[in-house]
Structure formats: C-alpha cells, structure tokens
Amino acid sequence: MTLIALSHISLTYPNAAAPALSDLTLAVEEGATLSILGPSGCGKTTVLRAIAGFERPQDGAITIAGRPVSDAAHWVVPEERGVGMVFQDYALFPHLTVAENVAFGLQRLEKPAATRTIAQTLDLVGLSGFEDRYPHELSGGQQQRVALARALAPKPIVLLLDEPFSNLDPDMRGQMREEVEEILRLTGTTAVLVTHDHDEAFAMADRVAVLNHGRLEQVDTPEAIYHTPSTPFVANFVGQADFLLGHVDNGKIHTEVGIFENVGGHPTGAAVEIMIRPDDVHIVPASPGGARIVGRQFRGSENLYTVILPSGQHLHSSEGSTTVYPIGTSVDLKIVATHIVTFPKS
Amino acid sequence: MAVLAGILLASVAGLQPASPADAADRLVIYSGRKEKAVKPVVDAFTKQTGIQVDMKVGKTSGLANEIRMEKTRPRGDLFISTESGIVEILTKEGLLDPYQSAATKAVPEDFRSAAGTWTGISGRARIILYNKNLVPEKEVPRSIFELTNPIWKGKLAIAGTRERTTLAWATALVAVKGEAFTRDYLKGLHENDLKILTDNTEVWQGVGRGEFAIGLTNSPNYYLARQNNLPVGVVYPDQDTKGFGTPINPNVAAVIKGATNPEAARKFIDFLLGPEGQRILVTQDYEIPLIADVDSSEVPPLNSIKRTAVTAQRLADLEEATLKLLTSLNPNW
C-alpha cells in the first residue's frame, strides 16, 4: 500500500532562479524505506521538507496515508502531519534532558503511558540509563540515537531522516546504519532517508530515488540503480563508471576493448556510450598488452587501477589487493560485463 | 515564563495600595506652583476640612495643556497657575468654571478675572536682581530702561518665554509703552548682549554666582538666592510717581469646568484666601499677599509697590503679538 504519494511536485524558493523541485512524482510503500540520493543542491532535502510541511510546493499534491496534506485546496501544518524527523544536526533541544527530549512529542499521552513509551523507546535505541543526561553530555552517536528515539516515540506515520549519519565518524557511521536499519525493520516504520552517499542509500533502502537539479532521474531497487542506471548521471553518481565510445554495427556494439550486445536496441551506425564499472574490468599483465597502468589507489580490500587505452581513454579496474602491479605495467583487459548499459552518444 | 508571570503578578498586586483611592471624594489639584509652597496649605486644608487632596505638580504650561487635552472628561478639580495669561486662554476656551465669593472679592480687581473664572492668590513682582560683588551700591540701576546703557554690555540675563512671567513682562511693556517703543528697548537690550536663559532658576543662580551682574526675574527668586547664601540685591524698578512701575504677576487659582469635586475646589480657594491659607502661602515662598490685612513679613506689601497698570485680559490679547515681536528680534526668546 502506498503510504506517501508525491505527484507532480514543483517548488521554487523565493528569489531563486531555478526551481528546487520540478514535476517530481514519488511514492513510498508502507513499511518500506525509500532513499533519496543526489549531490548537494539537487533538492533532496527539499523533498523531505515538503513531506514534513516545512515547505509548500507551488504545484502538485502530497498525500500521507491517503490524506491530502498539500495541494491547491489543502494545506496541513507540520504539527498535524504525524511525521517524525531526524535532522542532520540532530536538532536536540539543548535545554532538555534525554528523557524530556523524547517526551516532547508525547504531550497527548497520559503520564504513565508517556513514561512507558520513553523507557521503551530509549531501550530500543540502546540508551537506557541516559534519561537525565543533557545533549551536550552525549557523544555524537548517542545524540543521534536520542534524535531517533525522539522522532520514533510518537509513532509517526513516516520517519524522515535528513543525512542522519553525515556528522558521525566513519566507523560509527557503519554501526549506526546497521542499528537504524534494524530498528526500522523491528518497528515496521516507513522511512524516507535523504543522503548523498550511495553506499548508505544502497545499504538502508528498499528503493532508491536519484535526484538531479530537482528532477527525478531514476527510482528503483538499489541493485537496479547500480547495475542498470537509466541515465549517465545515475551511472556516474552511484559508483565509479567509465564510458567507452562505440558504434552499432551488425546488431553489436563495437568498442576499443571488444564487442558487446546491443541491449539498448540502438539503430545501426549509431554512436553509443557503454558504461563499464571497475569490478567488471580485469587486468592481465601482457607484453605487449593493449593498455598500460597509469595509476593505482590502494583501497584496503582492493586496488583500483587506472589504465590508459591506445586511444587515450582512461578505464578503471578493481582487483584484489593480494597482487600488486606496478605503474607502467603493460596489460591486457578482460571485460566481464554482467550488466551491459548503453546510452546514445550525446 | 514562570518567572515573568510571577513578576507581573507581583507588580500588579503591589500596585493596589500605590494607586490613589477613589477619585470621587478627593480633591485633585493641578499645581503649577511649587510643591514646597502649596503642600503646607494643602495639609492645613485637609486638617481643617477633612478633605483628602491628590496633587499633581508640574509646569503651569504643561498642566494647562493637560487640562485642554482632558476637556472631554476633566480629571482635575482645581488649577493653580503661576501666571494669569494662561488662565485667560483657558477661560476663552471655556475650560474654567466661574467662582466668586466674599473671599475672592477681597482680592483687588486687577488680580481677578472679569468673568470670575480665576482669582489671584498671591503675587510676584518683576524685579532687577543684581550681584552685590559685581555691582557697587551706587551703580545699581533703578529702572529697567537704564539697562540699555552700554556699561551693562554682556552682564544681563533674563529667562526666555518658556517662563511665562517673562512674556507677561514684555507684553506689559507693549501694552503700556506701545510696540515701537518696546521693540527699540528690546533691541537696546540685545545690543547689550542680553543673555536669554532657559528659566528663572538659571537667572537667579547665574546672577548669584556671578555669571551675570544683573538679571530680570521675579521677586521670590531674590529670597531664594539669599537663602542659598548668594550675594544678591534687589530693586523694584521704575517706582517714581510717573514711572512705568513694575508688573506684578498673580499666582491664581481656578475651578476646572466639569470638575468631579467642584465644591471642594471652591472651599480650597476660600481657604487659600483666608488668613491661615495666606499666611502659609506667603511665608513659604516669599510671595506678596493680595489681601489687604495679611502680614507680608519681610516681603514688601502690595501697596508699597507701584505696579504697572494693565489688566490680565489686555495682556492675554497682546500676548501672541508680543511673542512674534520677541522671536523676530531673537529666536532664543
């Protein structure tokens, strides 16, 4: 069942030249997590703020649990939308204790019920015993948990998370990601997560929506986004990608490094670009090989090599880090393309 | 917020005793006369009659403006003014109630309103105040018209028309001597660098401390300066038989039209003019009694001073023209 529906949303900020969102249509299924992914300034936070009611789109409609909250005829203020929000900076009330922060949204509950909910929620996020601390006495991760608990306690229809992990240390970030995912799963909470980090989006979301300049580029499962991006922008944004020039001949795409299936059904003679991810490219030292290694980045479990083709085109390859090839090594390339993605040459 | 609410409550609660009680049975006096001068009379009045009094002391002109603004619903009962010009204006605007009694009739006619709307309660003569250290006894001027003599250049001071007694003095000049004469006379004073000060206090202090040799001011200020141990002398100018005399400005009392408590106001006027009221009023602030047989103690009695012959109505009529004349000569007036 669709819980949140945005249809044809357009929003332009006052005094802004370009719209922040244009003609955006999105849906979030009940119990699912949707991730909105995009570079900074793409409008992804604006989507969240429009759902929460902090911004009012000029066009289009938003419904939450079937109730119109924003369209030409309806406007529901944030405090009446039943959404929970976790901010990038957590926005904890500095003058209230952990328990008081969590209790903030529970003012309509009787005291015993509120007390019970606070205890349960803090237990859920692993902060039992921290009730009387103030936000400034907590670590970043703990503050994050309080923000989560505060947003979850009133049992919101949907939980909105705005770059929730970006203020955390990298190791803390992974741990929190797992914990939050677990909590969302346990509680069956519908969530919308905004992030610029594709790893985070892939790890947490059932579906990912990629936004660019206020327009929706693609919305799909994480796997589909990664392997079969529908635009070069998506292909580039969700991971390292190289684009090789090719042309269609005889129902095949011919490129410098080999021949591929014409999956896009491009007409014969058309110039196309084929997307190749580093994990599909393998290098084999050969003398004389068809390419040469010009760069290597050590990435822990793997090495990312940059090779140069005779045409001058650069291509990336990721290899296990057990063997190291020095820069300058002459190599042959082996492309194992499980997902062939092509775009017409622009 | 709780703190604020607390403060608010405490303030409101604290106000109760501070605000004056029900106005209906209290006499409200707007006094342009000094509190020091009026308060003892008020206390004696309350003691005698049992009528409680609330006083609002301020500048006569400020209070007169208030009375005008309060026209729709007067808040004061009695107005004590330091000058008759203002009450004449208020009379014309219909803001005062006539009151005449045996007591008011004891006041000479030129210190009473023709319409009976106000009555003089005491007087102040226009005087020459001089610094004894700066002016040797034989050089002391006996007439205000001597002051245009260049020997007084840079040594003269007077209060501006913010002190309405100054305006009354200049208006009396216009009334008696004519506008052309007055203009020439004032020009002469200005050629002598007459300094126009903010108020009479500055005049008597300036003269007393030696900033100026000579000041034109009112008679009580002489005694005030003496009280402050300043070396001053006084001249009641132009006293020869054919002379200009010197204007005597009455302090006056008037019942405000529409007063909540007019009866008490009238009682107070009678009390002011009675022997006890006069005694207190005169001794408090060295004023000249206007009632014949009241002892004026060290102040010269009314009949010993030759006063300029001009009525309050005439003064009121000429006031605006005089003011124009003054400001045309010097904007500081």
Partner: protein
C-alpha cells in the same frame, strides 16, 4: 506491514488540528493589539500636524535649521559614543586589562544615568560658574571663563557620554562571539595589527556597531532633557516651546511629525545599509581565547579606560555625591522616598515584564507571517521610540481620556506609554536572539506535533532566556528614567523618582534632587547588576 517488534509503532492517525485556527486568531489579535497600541498616537500626530495648515508659526527656514542642528547633534554624539565604546569594548573583551570584569560592569552604568542628570552634573562642573571655572580662576587669579559646557558641543559631549553603553553592549557581545583566530589568521598572513583592525575586526563588528549606533542616534534625536539644559535648539526643545509658551499644539504636532519622519528615514537607511539581516545578540557566550597581553601598552590602556569611566561614571556620580550635602541629609531624604521608589520600581518592572512577553510574542509572530507583514510590524513598533515623550503624553491623554477613560487616570496609562516608547528594544532584542537559534529546533518541535504556543514556550523562550533577562533589564532601565511622558500622564498623587527629581530641581532643591538622582541611578542599575551576576554564574 512486516512484523511488530517489542514496540508496536503503528502509525497513529493524524492528530486533530487543534492549533491551526487558534494560532491564526492569536496572530490576528496580537496584530490588532499592537496596532491599537502604537498607531493611534501616530495617526493623531499626523492629523494634528495637518491641522497646522500653513505651518502655524513654524517657518520652512526654521524647520531646516532645526533639522540641521538636530541631525548634527545626534550624528556627532553617536560618533563620540563610538569613539568611547569601541576601544573600551576591545580592551575589556580581548586584552588582559586590569579589573576588566569590573570595568565591563561599570561601562554599562551610564545607561542608568538619565541624560538630564548627566547634563546637570556637567553644568555644575563645567558651566560658566561651575567648579572648574571657579578653581581655575582662583588658581590663576584671573576671573576669566575657561570652559563653558553650554551649547552645541556640550550637548554632543554629554549625549555621547551617556549613550555609548548601547554600542559597548552590542560590540562587546559581538567581539566575544567572534573567533579571535580569524584575526590571528590575518596576522599570520602578514597584516599589521592596525591593518587587522581595519580590514578584519571592524568589518566583522560592523553590524553591531551600526545597531548600537542606531540606538544611540535615536536616543539623541528624541532626547529633550540634555539639549534643553545645555541650551541647544533642537526639535524636542522647539516642540516644548510651541507647547508651553505658544500653546500651539498644532505647531508642536507638526514639528513632532517631522521628527518622526526623520526617524523613519533613518530606520529605512539602516535597513538599506545592513541590507542582509545581521544577527547581533546582546548576550554572548563567554568562550574566550587567551586575552591579548598588553605589555608596554598596559599603562596607556589603563589610563584610557580610566578616563572613559571617569567621564561617564565617576565624575557625574561624584558631582551628585558632593551636591547631596551631609550624610544625615542623605539618609533623611532617602528615608522619605519609599513610595516613589516603590512607584518607580513597580511601573518600570511592569512595563519591562509586559515588554518582554509582548516582545516574545511579536518576534515569534513576525517569524511566522510573510516577511513584509513582519517588517511592517517591527517598523511600526520602532517608530514609537521616536515620538517625543511630551507629545506622546499629550496625545495619549486626549485619546485615552476620551475613548478608554478607565485606563487614563490610572497607572495603566504609564505602562501604555512605556510600552509604546520602549517595546522596540524588546522586539529587536528577542528577534535577534531568535535569529541565532538553529531553525531545525523549531522544525523538530513542530514535527513532534507541538502547537505554536508550545514551540514558543518550551523551545524558543527557554533558549533565549539570557536575552530575555537582558532585554528586561534594558526596558526596565529606560522606563525607570522616563520623565517627559510620565510628567503628563501620572495620575494625581502618583509620582515616580524622575518626577520627584524634576520637581525638586525646578524648586531649586538641588541637594535633595541629587540624593534622589543617586537613588534612581542605584535602583536603575540594580537589575543590570543582578542579570550580569546571574550570567557570570551561568544561572540564566
């Protein structure tokens, strides 16, 4: 839905819309209330000014002359105040100046000294027959006049001395809030100390210098007491002349209206100058880097500080103390003033408390209304500050005595006058403090179903608490000192300390007036002292 964990977080139905229309009615009522408070006197003024017809006795020439004198006086006084405030603020915040905490506290005291009292003190000292002339004449044996405080430059001198704390407060707070490392970076980039001051520090402080300067400027523009005592012809004294000598209320209204128009122009100019909103708060967080070591500048800096504080605090207070006469007299007078002290404290306390509450509500409402409405609201309130007290008093008498007589004739009318004159201090202060709050906090609260009232009460108000105390103290100080409107509006039998000082001064009882002036200053400074102490102890 997947499965229920230990918690059944079933989405609850959207809660009943309780706050929406209530909030709207509240906003509406507030707008109407503020409008009814501030606009009638302004409209009255405009109407009365129009009645003046062919300018009454006021000529265009005299208007231009007045405008030139008034604006020059206010401008030069503001520059003088800046020259006093800036070095002092920098020294007490950034350096190891001796007794800098004490100096910082003392530097605010001049605000508690009404400018008319400051002027009287300096006339006694520097007047033509003041102490200094007397001493110098006695010393040299020649009776010439050495100094004369009267006139335009005396007005500039006195006004600057007693308004510089407005600039000092804002600038020292801004200095505290800015990171000294920015200046250190500039030094490391090869900029000389003077260059750092010119190119880094001063530009950073510009908004607070301008905001403080504006307060000082508006004060100078609308002050009556000191120019009147020092014999400077400005708008306020000309208005007084029209009212009290000529009884020409129309001409007075016309002059007042021109003054208000000048003020509006100044405020509009400030808006354009600041362009973008700059956020200055009158409370700062005391996170300080290590203070700059003065070294060989120790003595010059100490001397400068001493000189500024002497001119603005010690000398005027000293003159007043000398004037009080004997200790016995002092105590006798003090013992008689119980009622007046109580009246003053109550009125100022009531006005300050209401101003803070209204300031909170107005600043909060202004944030939630379209920007233009908000600007109109705060602009209207600012203009109230510019109406000369005497004129405001008279127009309130007419308006309130005619239409709400049950308010006029009670002390309530004084509170109304104080609110019209000083509400802007509260609105501006609270607004600036709100602007410093992370907007996410308000949004978080709203997403947690908090009504606007709850957002204000539970989130915003507690967060700006230090500012609320400071703003309370500021309005309290202004209301304690107010004389012009109080003189006209007080109910018979109800006098405040400034009114008593005025009466005693007029009656030439200077010793008595001096004692009461000291009392007034002490009681005015008191809340500021308390707020400062509490802030040092981190209690507010």
């Amino acid at each position: 839905m997947a499965q229920a964990g230990p918690l059944t977080l079933t989405p609850s139905a959207p809660l009943a819309p309780a706050s929406g229309w209530l909030a709207q009615i509240g906003t509406f009522l507030l707008l109407v209330g503020v409008g009814l408070l501030v606009l009638p006197p302004l409209l009255f003024l405009a109407a009365a000014a129009l009645k003046a017809g062919e300018l009454g006795a006021v000529t265009i020439g005299s208007l231009v002359g007045l405008a030139v004198t008034t604006l020059s006086l206010a401008t030069l006084a503001t520059i003088w105040a800046m020259l006093l405030a800036l070095p002092l603020a920098w020294l007490v915040v950034r350096t190891d100046l001796p007794f800098r905490t004490l100096c910082r506290w003392l530097a605010v005291i001049p605000l508690a000294i009404p400018s008319y009292i400051g002027a009287m003190a300096y006339i006694a000292l520097l007047g033509p027959v003041g102490s200094v002339n007397t001493w110098l004449s006695a010393l040299t044996g020649s009776p010439q006049q050495w100094v004369n405080i009267y006139g335009f430059w005396g007005g500039v001198f006195v006004l600057g001395l007693f308004t510089y704390p407005y600039i000092f407060l804002l600038v020292s707070a801004a200095l505290e809030a800015t990171n000294p490392s920015v200046e250190e970076t500039a030094r490391s980039l090869g900029e000389s100390p003077l260059g750092v001051l010119r190119r880094v520090t001063l530009p950073m402080l510009r908004p607070s210098i301008l905001a403080g300067g504006l307060l000082a400027f508006l004060y100078a523009l609308s002050d009556f007491g000191s120019p009147s005592l020092l014999r400077v012809q400005v708008f306020t004294t000309a208005i007084y002349h029209q009212l009290n000598t000529r009884f020409d209320q129309a001409a007075a209204a016309l002059l007042s209206f021109v003054l208000v128009l000048i003020t509006i122009a100044v405020l509009a100019g400030q808006q354009m100058l600041l362009h973008r909103r700059s956020y200055v708060t009158i409370t700062g967080t005391a996170r300080l880097a290590r203070p700059l070591h003065l070294g060989r500048w120790h003595w010059p800096a100490t001397l400068l500080t001493g000189a500024i504080l002497s001119l603005s605090v010690f000398i005027p207070l000293g003159v007043l103390l000398v004037q009080t006469g004997s200790v016995g007299h002092f105590l006798e007078v003090v013992s008689e003033q119980g009622d007046y002290i109580k009246n003053s404290l109550l009125m100022a306390g009531l006005a300050a408390t209401l101003a803070v509450i209204l300031g909170l509500l107005i600043a909060f409402t202004a944030r939630r209304t379209p920007p233009r409405t908000g600007a109109l609201l705060s602009g209207t309130i600012q203009i109230g500050y510019a109406i000369p007290g005497t004129v405001l008093g008279l127009s309130l008498i007419l308006l309130y005595n005619t239409y709400v007589p049950w308010v006029y004739g009670t002390v309530g009318i004084l509170v109304v006058a104080y609110l019209i004159r000083f509400l802007t201090q509260s609105v501006q202060g609270v607004d600036a403090a709100f602007a410093g709050i992370n907007p996410h906090l308000e949004e978080a609260a709203r997403s947690l179903a908090a009504s606007p009232w709850r957002v204000l009460r539970r989130v915003l108000a507690p967060l700006v608490r230090p500012t609320l105390f400071a703003v309370w103290a500021l309005v309290f100080i202004s209301a304690m000192k107010e004389l012009d409107a109080t003189l006209l509006l007080r109910p018979a039998g109800f006098d405040t300390l400034p009114v008593r000082i005025y009466i005693h001064t007029v009656e030439a009882e200077y010793a008595r007036a001096a004692v009461m002036a000291l009392l007034l200053i002490a009681f005015t400074a008191l809340p500021w002292m308390v707020v400062t102490r509490l802030r040092e102890k981190k209690l507010v």
